[in-house]
Symmetry: C2
Subunit: 316 residues, 2 copies
């Protein structure tokens, strides 16, 4: 049997046909058009999936089930998205909508959890008992896999690792609290820190890198400046690494996972990011008598969400 | 069958004979004498247990197993305490020592985990799928129960909730990091904050409460001062409540438990502490679409550790 995996994002809908082992046979994407009514978005999610089934030379008889990774808080029992602020969903009957077009079981899960599950099924966390996947993007997504199952809390509202406060009364977070890890170690936070530093160093390397257009600063800019020997860039990167590491030490002290996979845009820096992060985490991890949790790049990239969503049926 | 539960503390060894339902038939305690060689301490643990068995009119034939809650990092596979800094243990063969006197299966677990498991078996978290027990004492102990099992991480080094940094670069913690929750919301932290405030308000209510002897300030003093209408005491309590709540919101966002049981010395303040804590936690919890985690006092007090240790065999 094959599985349809759909990764619903704010910008694009990505989908794939996935086999039992977590291999993607074929994948594709269409724009989300997040401003549209949910019925329109879900029609496109279904249509993309049906097209891929056809392109694989399969029929719906070959498909076991559909899995969807969505932003927000899903309720898989009811088949609904209770709430999302990324795409504005409130009590959206996602399963019902998809089943209008694809009469198969539909499982719904948070997108960060799907990515973590994908890394567990076919990526960097394969074969582990406990793993955590951290996605450094617009926010910080966290997914926790314990004994082959996604940990979500009593009503699917847990695993919000990005909304762990690491600085009481610190930076304002989108969730309403101040000082969340996400406000210090997401790509968005890194960009904010880089722009603030650039504004204070108007003739510096960072401003030269973006031809004086501060709005062009992205999550790569500070790293690029540091690579060029710029001390301002180096200071930003060091600060970012420190905040990222502090949150990761918390994750280690709380979960003691075998593996932490780091994904999302910022993780593209690879060892240039991870090597100093690892050093700090290992210095500060509470227990020195056990093997250190491995900190590695998420290996599946955007495919993790598709694979994890597709194989949701396997863990239920 | 009956179970022996031993709660090894820095000051006292407490033990009890416990039935299948988690009821204590008889309990007792002896001083730990923590400075002594571990063989002496464990001999006393065993002797206390054997005395209790006899006092219950039982023999070892009635005993299923022994469970021990110990400070530090246990390795139940090896039957050892890998490390503890509270009582100075390094690779101590606890199971072997106890079995010299009591030839029964011996399970070893961290003391905070035992307390959490006791609350799950017979206390405030009974019947829940996910619960967390927080002990506000010398440090902050955390115990996490998921689906009837103690969550400990890949090698028993997780669930160190007290060593979650909530203020990067904040107060020095005994673990070497700065800004751990424990450094702000343990009884020790509350006493430190009270003493600091008293030293600045030498003629105030707090100093009167301790007859001018700052060393007599304990975890109750600020609460007592607040109850008397003292603004300095009120400010300390408010600050303490805030830090306690910030950590609890983190716990909620990470685990989304059904119940959080609050134990340890400071929890004796009851609703005077918990009511304002609950208010802050519910204001700041990330997800508003699900039932709020209940925040309640741990109901078993010191018995939780004995009961949880005794019935460790049940969860394995």
């Amino acid at each position: 049997m094959y599985y349809i995996g759909i990764d619903l994002g704010g910008t694009n809908i990505a989908a794939g046909i996935v086999d039992e082992e977590g291999k993607i046979l074929k994948k594709g994407s269409v724009p989300t058009g997040a401003h549209r009514h949910y019925t329109e978005i879900m029609k496109d999610m279904a249509q993309l999936s049906l097209d891929l089934v056809k392109e694989c030379g399969l029929t719906l008889d070959d498909i076991h089930s559909v899995g969807i990774g969505s932003p927000g808080t899903p309720d898989n029992e009811k088949g609904m998205i209770l709430y999302s602020n990324n795409i504005a969903f409130l009590n959206v009957p996602m399963r019902e909508e998809i089943q209008k077009y694809i009469p198969k079981p539909v499982n719904i899960e948070n997108d960060a959890n799907c990515a973590a599950y994908g890394e567990y099924i076919a990526g960097g966390a394969k074969g582990t008992k406990i793993s955590v996947t951290i996605t450094l993007g617009t926010g910080i997504g966290g997914g926790i896999i314990i004994d082959g199952k996604i940990y979500t809390g009593a009503h699917h509202a847990g695993a919000e690792l990005g909304h762990m406060v690491i600085c009481v009364d610190g930076e304002q977070c989108t969730c309403g609290r101040r000082g969340c890890w996400e406000a210090y170690a997401s790509a968005t936070a890194l960009i904010r820190m880089t722009r603030e530093a650039a504004a204070r160093d108007i003739n510096g390397t960072i401003m030269k890198l973006v031809n004086g257009d501060i709005s062009k600063i992205d999550a790569k800019t500070a790293f690029d400046a540091k690579r060029m020997g710029d001390s301002v860039g180096a200071a930003i990167v060091d600060k970012y690494v420190k905040y990222l590491a502090e949150g990761l030490v918390n994750v280690c002290n709380i979960f003691e996972p075998e593996v932490i996979c780091i994904g999302g845009g910022v993780s593209k820096e690879g060892e240039y990011l991870l090597e100093p992060v690892r050093k700090l985490v290992y210095e500060k991890f509470y227990c020195k008598q056990v093997p250190m949790p491995k900190i590695i790049p998420a290996v599946l990239g955007n495919d993790a969400g598709i694979i994890g969503a597709a194989l949701l049926a396997k863990q239920l």
